[in-house]
């Protein structure tokens, strides 16, 4: 394992929170599954935060329903693979990294899923120089993170599982059901030792990218990470993130952008949830994800518009075009959804007249 690099731009979870993990391990007297660094209870505490008997404060890593974390940890403890689903920006990767760090003390056994991920990334590759010189042998094999995790009883992570081509995904079926990785070239296999498990993350709005086969899906317990529960929490996240981004882009600070941010978040939430915030009117939802991350980019874009072409104040007109772009992904169906929303909800709403007008302008 590489030594701790304090210069790293972003240290691994197990390094950044090494103290907390140590304190938890010391205080933890509950039974631990084989090769787990902590008991399931302690892992949940690590993620959700708490105070240990010795006074150590564990910072919360995940702010959200307790249930989600408990089910996730328990899944790993029952040695089922865990699939974390959620729209972008719901901390899937963050949770998977911290889970791996807490369970195995190592969050680096990672396969990043892309359209180009090949089977070698999940099974094993070959050191061709050695292969040519000595013929196939265990030494000539370059193990994948999954293979290493199996051999050492660690937690492997697969990011963006649904982006991996379907045939490559299915390599995981043997790994997860038989808990073995055959190496036909050598007539051998690597058998997973106790403690091995796998956490995958996927975007559940990416329908049609590479849907999991039902055979693979069956091997996973699925946990959906929810979007921020309350509008205030989401406004807070967006405002904070926009602020950070704005500073790095050297955008001038805007005085009362918070109202516009609240409006953007409201529109996003209402369309996403398919119901108005007062809960009285149902709406159709567009095909886009309308995640918090997109709200952030709409507001950032609006800020840039306001700063460079407007009067420096974030106004309805600055975000209207961005919102339209985020909402109307499918030109036919989404446009109807958006217009219905404008005509039935926005038009009637007090104090939203400027917004309505701005949206009408960009919509037509």
């Amino acid at each position: 394992m590489p030594g701790i690099n304090s210069e790293a731009l972003r240290p691994h979870a197990e390094d950044a929170f090494a103290d907390e993990l140590k304190a938890l391990a010391a205080a933890d007297d509950r039974p631990r599954p084989a090769r787990w660094r902590l008991s399931p209870w302690a892992v949940a505490t690590y993620l959700l935060g708490g105070t240990l008997p010795d006074g150590t404060v564990i910072t919360p890593k995940y702010v959200g329903p307790r249930r989600v974390v408990e089910v996730a940890v328990t899944t790993l403890a029952t040695d089922r693979a865990l699939l974390l689903l959620g729209v972008p920006g719901t901390a899937k990767t963050w949770v998977s990294e911290h889970l791996a760090a807490a369970v195995s003390g190592d969050s680096t056994l990672l396969v990043q899923g892309t359209a180009g991920t090949a089977e070698e990334a999940i099974r094993y590759g070959w050191d061709y120089a050695r292969l040519l010189a000595h013929g196939p042998s265990r030494e000539a094999i370059v193990p994948s993170p999954v293979m290493r995790a199996m051999a050492e009883g660690m937690t492997a992570r697969v990011e963006e599982l649904t982006r991996i081509p379907a045939d490559v995904q299915d390599t995981l079926i043997t790994v997860l059901s038989e808990k073995t990785l055959p190496i036909p070239e050598l007539g051998e296999e690597v058998q997973a030792v106790r403690g091995f498990n796998l956490i995958a993350t996927a975007n559940d709005r990416d329908r049609g990218v590479n849907e999991l086969s039902s055979a693979l899906r069956r091997r996973f317990n699925t946990v959906v990470l929810p979007l921020p529960a309350s509008p205030e929490a989401e406004v807070d996240i967006v405002a904070r993130r926009v602020d950070q981004l704005g500073r790095s882009l050297d955008l001038p600070a805007t005085p009362d952008g918070i109202d516009e941010i609240r409006r953007v978040v409201t529109v996003f939430r209402e369309l996403r949830d398919g119901v108005t915030t007062d809960g009285r009117t149902k709406l159709k939802s567009p095909s886009g994800t309308l995640s918090t991350a997109e709200a952030i980019s709409v507001v950032t874009g609006g800020l840039a518009l306001a700063a460079h072409f407007g009067d420096g104040v974030l106004r309805a007109g600055d975000v209207a075009a961005g919102i339209l772009g985020a909402v109307v992904r499918d030109p036919a169906a989404d446009r109807v959804v958006w217009q219905e929303y404008l005509e039935t909800v926005v038009r009637e709403r007090d104090g939203w007249k400027d917004f309505y007008r701005a949206c009408r302008e960009v919509s037509v």
């Binding site: 399931p40 403890a77 899906r217 009285r280 009117t281 149902k282 159709k284 109807v336 005509e343 039935t344």
Partner: protein, 818 residues
């Protein structure tokens, strides 16, 4: 065995664990009599519980004899400890006594309290030993390290492994002793602080000072229970068992003088009551239904009570079966993994047995791919469940029937087996009430009257009904008893339930109409809400367009019946708005049949919008001036008030889009143009130009023929239009003569259909005009001459003069030459 003191079995109402324990305890101590917390009036009815036809969930229903709307319920589920005790006692020929305050007092007290006659909170009579007392239980749970008192109670009592199945040598009474002690502690600490029973009883706000002695409802009830207990001991000896809410146990064990208890009970108000068994449903046991027996998961409890062993495994199997039935692929492997996950979760959360929370989490993660959609199904069908109780026919008549009898008397319509036609004038109060009653009964599935088509010309305020009472309607009425105690209340509840369960938009609109007809204003908000929801989610414009006319009709009916239709109008406008947005897109790419159907929708919406706008105008009268007429459609969202005029404007804009957009089916475009022309929103010149474009060589003949059908077809006045507007006729004529021979045979059927719908006179006139050939140059005629109607370019002086003598005669003018 006959103990020195009565066995006080403190339970949680509807707790399956309690029920098991009660059964075991009764088996062990074999009491000579069983006393149960419930209205003593029911003593005479309790034997029915052993009847073959009695199937829980059922409820004891007590209501004021004069007013069935004032009622209180004591529900029993299969897993209720009280039910278990009743069944045990009846099976062992042991007398059963109910010992709670008589319903006569309970109902009278309720009346004086804050609540009116609405049966929504009748549980005051039976409030579970815990529902209004979450606080003391929370204290107990908090002491045990639980943040949710419900979960604590489940772990400590309901889920105890082997509850009710204790080893033969174990003491089945031990848990009850423990509960009694805990409750005594709690009561002590509460009594110290304040007059606990007053503060703890959420429903007892206004009733404490009412009945002379300053005591909360609980104190009164407990005094009554003690007195009854004393009577029973005198009658049966000490070997008796009492099943009551855990909270009351210490009070019953307390030593109080008879005189003190009598004092408490003195001067209680009283009403004449009647009591009976009624069928109940699991849904009503669930807390959310407002009847509030206070359990969220009757299905789960029922399962816990029924399952002989391995409750989690059996539960998961049931869930899997349900999901499979709904075409959701779930294998045995899923069940295995779900059970493992639930068990491990329970261990991790430190619970003795996987509870509903754990099983739900496991089902979501393993069987539902993390989605809440199939989970909602599980929640609805299994966790709550669709169980419907049954009551034997020998039980006394249910209150609904009595309410109907009362209404029949007051409205003077008798149930008769022979057919009888009645005509109602809805402007008269009695007739309106009769009509409402019949509509309500229809809604309840009691088809006493069938509405007949009113004789023509009688107007909307008349209704004709054909009445016929068949014996089976009594059965229907009994079945409808689950919905409520009065016809109105039951119909309201049924309508609300239908609205919630409706899947198609048209169902809900029909329901809304029924609610208005039946005069159920209380159900209307729920129905409206369902309607708005369905409308919002329905992406098929055809459905929306179908729903709109019925809704608008309802708005009009509401006017006749003087019900408040503001909410309805709002929903109708919203619906119209959605139709406007979606219509242009929905019209493209339709084949012939679909286009014809859509054209019908366009017509229907057009009429509905006109009616709606009319209704809106009469409602708003003065507060909106005529600003809207002039401004350009909804361009700048004039203001928040969507006035009727604006609605019409927007519809006109939609029609214009339809008329002018290329690529839409000809029939629809023609129809839209025609509607605009009729409304005066399209000038004749513009209409002629549209027609000219469509009938030019660039358009396929079939398409053009469809356009003509849309434009002049459907409706008698289409032909007249051609008769009077020479230019339009000329265009048609020129186009028709220009159609290629083989294309002509294609368009012929369509044209024939169009023109054959005209009246013979119109057809003849048209034929003559075409034959006269005066149309050849009409296309070039100046617009000013068009106004003359196309009967020739100028005045025919000679023919006009022929009228003059008669005119003079009529006007009494002198014969001055000519």
């Amino acid at each position: 065995m006959s103990g020195p003191a009565p066995a006080l079995l403190g339970v949680r109402h509807h707790g399956p664990g309690s029920a098991r324990s009660v059964r075991a305890a009764l088996e062990q101590c074999r009491p000579a009599a069983v006393l149960i917390e419930g209205p003593p009036e029911a003593d005479a009815l309790v034997h029915l519980a052993a009847d073959e036809g009695m199937r829980p969930p059922v409820a004891l229903l007590a209501h004021a004899a004069a007013d069935p709307g004032r009622a209180a319920f004591w529900p029993f589920a299969e897993f209720s400890p009280e039910w278990a005790a009743i069944r045990w006692a009846l099976a062992h020929d042991v007398p059963v006594r109910f010992i709670d305050l008589p319903a006569a007092h309970t109902l009278a007290l309720n009346e004086e309290g804050t609540e009116g006659e609405h049966p929504g909170k009748p549980e005051a009579g039976d409030e579970a030993g815990r529902a209004p007392r979450l606080d003391p239980l929370a204290a107990l749970a908090g002491a045990a390290g639980y943040d949710d008192p419900e979960v604590w109670w489940e772990d400590a009592v309901e889920h105890r492994r082997g509850a009710g199945r204790v080893a033969p040598d174990g003491d089945a009474l031990a848990p009850f002793t423990a509960i009694a002690e805990a409750m005594a502690e709690l009561r002590a600490s509460f009594d110290d602080a304040t007059d606990a029973t007053d503060t703890a009883d959420a429903t007892g706000a206004g009733e404490a000072t009412e009945s002379g002695p300053r005591a909360g409802r609980d104190a009164v009830r407990e005094a009554h229970m003690r007195l009854r207990l004393r009577d029973a001991r005198r009658e049966f000896g000490d070997g008796i068992a009492v099943v009551c809410g855990a909270w009351h146990v210490p009070a019953l064990a307390e030593k109080r003088t008879v005189a003190a208890d009598r004092q408490l009970l003195k001067g209680l108000p009283k009403v004449k009551t009647e009591i009976g068994w009624v069928p109940w449903t699991h849904r009503r046991l669930a807390r959310r239904s407002g009847y509030g027996a206070g359990i969220t998961s009757p299905g789960w409890y029922g399962h816990l009570f029924r399952a002989p062993d391995r409750p989690v495994e059996r539960w998961m199997t049931e869930v899997a079966r349900l999901l499979r039935d709904e075409d959701h692929p779930v294998s045995s492997a899923h069940v295995i993994e779900a059970v493992r996950l639930a068990d491990t979760l329970a261990v991790m959360r430190g619970r003795p047995l996987a509870g509903l929370g754990e099983t739900t989490d496991a089902v979501r993660a393993v069987m539902c791919d993390g989605s809440d959609v199939p989970l909602a199904l599980v929640q609805d069908r299994l966790v709550i469940g669709d169980v419907l109780g049954e009551v034997p026919g020998s039980a006394p008549a249910p209150p609904l029937q009595r309410d109907l009898a009362r209404l029949q008397r007051s409205l003077r319509i008798k149930p008769e087996a022979a057919f009888r036609d009645l005509e109602f004038d809805l402007r008269k109060d009695t007739d309106a009430a009769r009509s409402r009653l019949l509509h309500r009964l229809r809604l309840l599935g009691v088809g006493w009257g069938e509405p007949q088509r009113s004789r023509a010309g009688l107007g909307t305020f008349r209704e004709t009904w054909r009445l016929c009472w068949e014996p089976e309607l009594s059965v229907r009425l009994a079945e409808a008893g689950v919905w409520g105690t009065t016809v109105e209340g039951a119909a309201t509840a049924k309508a609300e339930s239908l609205a919630r369960g409706a899947t198609a938009l048209a169902e809900v609109t029909a329901l809304a109409e029924q609610c208005l007809l039946a005069g159920l204003p209380d159900a209307l908000p729920v129905v409206m809400r369902a309607l708005a929801d369905r409308a919002a989610l329905d992406s098929d414009v055809a459905h929306l367009a179908q729903a709109l006319p019925a809704l608008v009709r309802s708005v009009r009916y509401g006017d006749v019946r003087r019900t408040d239709t503001a909410a309805l109008g709002e929903v109708a406008e919203g619906l119209a708005e959605r139709v406007f947005v979606g219509l242009p897109a929905a019209c493209s790419g339709l084949d012939g049949d679909a286009a014809a159907e859509m054209r019908g929708h366009v017509d229907a919406v057009h009429r509905a919008v006109a009616l709606l706008a009319e209704a809106g105008e009469t409602n708003e009268t003065s507060n909106t001036s005529e600003t809207s007429e002039t401004s350009e459609t909804s361009e700048t969202g004039k203001d928040s008030a969507s006035s009727a005029g604006a609605l019409r404007e927007r519809w006109a804009a939609v029609l214009t889009t339809l008329a002018e957009r290329d690529g839409l089916p000809g029939g629809i475009r023609g129809r839209a143009a025609r509607l605009l022309l009729d409304d005066g929103r399209l000038t004749h010149e513009r209409a002629a130009r549209l027609m000219g474009l469509v009938l030019s060589v660039g358009t396929a003949p079939a398409e053009a023929a469809a356009w003509i059908e849309g434009f002049v077809g459907s409706g008698g006045s289409g032909g007249m239009l051609l008769v009077h507007d020479e230019r339009l006729l000329a265009l048609v004529d020129a186009w028709l003569t220009g159609v290629a021979p083989d294309a002509f045979t294609d368009v012929l059927p369509l044209l024939r259909r169009t023109f054959s719908a005209f009246e013979p006179g119109v057809r003849r006139t048209l034929g003559e005009r075409v034959r006269r050939g005066g149309t050849g140059d009409a296309g070039a005629a100046a617009p000013g001459e068009m106004a003359g109607g196309g009967f020739g370019a100028a005045l025919d002086e000679e023919r006009a003069a022929a009228v003059l003598p008669t005119m003079r005669l009529l006007l009494g003018m002198a014969h001055t030459g000519g």
